[in-house]
Subunit: 493 residues, 2 copies
């Protein structure tokens, strides 16, 4: 295996945070030093706070300038104001650092021509010295295997999703929200204005990175159209790539210009590029997240439009869910009469429906049989399973009905794990993909189920779950469309 | 004020629960007795459990039959299996009850012709005796002023929203979810198959009910088209009425038939009826809830499509939000240059945008000034305000940064209340409606803001808030469309 030229950027052994704030407990945007304390990078050694105005942080001495730090410094995080950047660039060259991440904003994205020139000059200088730059105007790197993080609360467990994002807050949102769904990341990079390293560089890196099985991108503007197209094409040949383009509309493209100095270009061209290269296109943040879950799970195996909907939330929920499935481009085929007749042997007629959607609570000893019947019935290409309100199925009669104690929580987690295992078993036994749907808010609470727990438990079983029926259906439709677009390209499923 | 003939149905002084379960602690669907214990109805006296197989529940004696209960019984909740219903009907007539709610299912909705006949016969019998029936196959009544509730956890504070729903679980979902947004209800009725009392009866009642200012309906099928049209027309003349039709699609309409025996009819006709009568049409459960919030708050005052977006969640969030606003039919007008220049006097250039959308954190002493400038700038018909990540604005420097203690929660609640008051002040000072947007999940937690708290705090100030920019924008677009449809009808705004 060859070593990619960007490998050192993702795996620095030492980091200097220049312009560090004196309060290491402050969290949120720009709290790089605090995040690297929390991530465990500091414990490994090789974390150097730099600020001439600060003597020490939590007892750790602060270096007045980069030049005063011990050798070597692989990676520099710049938090200094823009006017100090030229001096810092000179010091980075003198110090022979390998890469620099400019959190510092105030360059080309301001629309100020002078600052755009400064940005260009500093990148030129760094390039001549062989130093790669991330940014300016961005959050930089989250790499669990290197113990790098740019916000607090990011898990230090590595995963298989590579995310590149011009926006740091959007990257943070994807990481936080998907972490709550069980997803883990290989590398995340927020690259802002992309003055040096850009989308095509990161796509090329992601394509060959063995740790990364799925690639996702939030992009506001593409600087080198041809290079981007080619890199996307190379990457999408070998891995699922999902692209969310910010600034699709007129209003959004103006906002993107103010944000990262991006010129949006034609959205039609961008969409055509996604189609031609075999990438998946997301239109919203929700879609981006849902598609990442989908390509990481059994949703990739769905091979048709027929949904068997096991709707454990009452008849009205079943009706609206069937509407949502239809609206999003899938179908809810009628259950064959033979299957209906078999189910009626153990499902009482009153208050239940065994047509599709299924809204029925059989005696628990018949549940597995009923689920297998549903999953193998003619026309059912997948099962959507929404956990049932019928708590007696999942709770022992003598377990507490309402219990906020630790024991109660354990019980609830066990319930969710049991449901997830049942879904996996059903899929293994029948070969039909089983997809989870969990409603948030009051309904999940009423069922005694924490929706985050459900999302995580099912994800760990390789089962894709979604927070509404319409999101699940839309995601499946997008994957089916994707497969169609990819005809002629290598099969990734 | 005349007394409507259905008033006694909504205000029974005594209730018998027939076929009561022996476990009063069981919650969830069908736990009517437990719900009436929790709601406080039992404390008032006049709650009678009936079941020949149960001696006592929690020390309260259980009556073997309805005939054994003390006189008078105003309202009967039937939990007995369908085969016992004819006998119960006879007892209700002998006992001279006023109304009966059949939770009991297994009638016309099963598709069984014999059971459909039984349903018709029992309703005929009750009608002759002057007894009104709710259902069968439904959850019945939630009326805070009468201390009636059909599920646990419903608030006993009265509000101004009247909800009629064929589905009990959907009614429960609306109550639970909107309660978490600050909304309160006057009366809620789940009426299932609608064998006796139907949509038009409840619409007529809601139209004249002084407690009810907003009317919402979940309907799967309309039994008397003409009567429904006329009742909807009468009601929508005097109050905002929002209708969600379950079974809009082919799949959904099949499901509706299995659920409540409803025949869907043409959705085009239904939509035309909404338009002609001046009702609001919701397509999903989310839309129904958002529209209820909208017509109860300042969202009704919006009078144009221009959004000033104050996006406190980073530049990428601003970009995607602008895209969402555009996609949903509103606009994000460019900020006039004069306003930009004024803001630049106190907003630093780096890392901020003062065009629209606004992604900027001015020094706190300038925040009010900046917000007023935004709200009064040319072309801005409303402000969308998303709470800022900049916590220093809302937290005292010496307050705990991460604190899960009770004190910490109080601080967070104070923060949210302060933001809500600031939004109200901004609206009062400028005359421009200010609408709240709060992101759930990881981002809200990062901001130290509980999204439910934000929704409730703003609602209490008369400010409509939504869980995403796209939901806010779509809702405003629907209200603008509604106003257009209502030309020639009485002005409700």
């Amino acid at each position: 295996m060859s070593i990619h030229s960007l490998d050192p950027v993702f795996h620095p052994r030492s980091v200097a945070v220049v312009g560090v704030s004196s309060n290491p407990n402050s969290t949120g945007m720009g709290s790089f030093y605090a995040s690297l304390l929390e991530s465990g990078f500091a414990e490994r050694g090789g974390l150097y706070p730099v600020n001439p105005k600060v003597d020490e942080i939590n007892g750790v001495p602060c270096f007045p300038t980069l030049m005063d730090t011990p050798d070597p410094v692989d990676h520099v995080i710049s938090q200094v104001p823009a006017r100090f950047v030229p001096e810092l660039v000179d010091q980075c060259i003198a110090k022979k650092v390998r890469s620099i991440h400019f959190f510092t904003a105030g360059f080309s994205e301001t629309g100020d021509q002078d600052m755009a020139v400064v940005e260009q000059q500093m990148i030129e200088k760094l390039r001549l010295a062989g130093i790669r730059a991330i940014g300016p105007n961005c959050m930089g790197l989250y790499v669990p295997s290197s113990k790098l993080a740019f916000m607090g609360g990011f898990p230090m467990e590595s995963g298989n999703v590579f995310l590149l994002s011009q926006s740091g807050a959007n990257a943070g949102e994807v990481v936080r929200d998907l972490t709550n769904r069980g997803v883990r990341f290989s590398k995340v990079v927020s690259y802002g204005n992309g003055a040096d390293l850009r989308a095509h560089d990161f796509l090329d890196y992601a394509a060959q990175d063995e740790e990364s099985k799925v690639v996702a991108a939030y992009i506001e503007g593409v600087q080198d159209g041809r290079k981007f197209f080619e890199a996307l094409q190379r990457c999408a040949r070998v891995k699922p790539v999902i692209v969310l383009k910010g600034g699709r509309t007129q209003s959004g493209s103006q906002a993107a210009h103010s944000h990262t100095g991006s010129l949006a270009g034609s959205i039609e061209v961008f969409d055509a590029v996604c189609r031609q290269t075999g990438a998946l296109r997301a239109e919203t943040m929700d879609e981006l997240q849902d598609l990442i879950v989908a390509v990481s799970t059994n949703v990739r195996q769905v091979n048709g439009r027929g949904v068997a909907l096991f709707a454990g939330g009452g008849g009205g929920f079943a009706v609206l869910s069937a509407d949502a499935i239809d609206r999003e481009g899938l179908t809810v085929p009628r259950m064959p009469q033979s299957a209906v007749d078999q189910m009626r042997e153990y499902v009482p007629v009153a208050g239940s429906s065994v047509n599709n959607p299924i809204d029925a609570f059989p005696p628990s000893e018949y549940l597995d049989e009923m689920l297998r019947l549903i999953a193998t019935a003619e026309g059912m290409d997948m099962v959507f399973m929404s956990p049932m309100i019928d708590r007696s199925r999942w709770q022992q009669p003598n377990s507490p009905d309402k219990d906020d104690s630790k024991d109660g929580e354990n019980t609830r987690e066990t319930v969710v794990n049991e449901i997830a295992r049942q879904m996996k078993r059903l899929q293994d036994d029948t070969g039909t993909p089983v997809i989870g749907v969990i409603r948030g808010g009051g309904m999940a609470r009423m069922m005694g189920i924490d929706s985050d727990d459900f999302l995580v438990s099912t994800y760990r079983q390789g089962i894709g779950s979604f927070s509404s029926v319409s999101r699940a259906a839309r995601t499946v439709t997008q994957l089916l469309q994707w497969r169609e677009n990819r005809q002629g390209l290598p099969d990734l499923s």
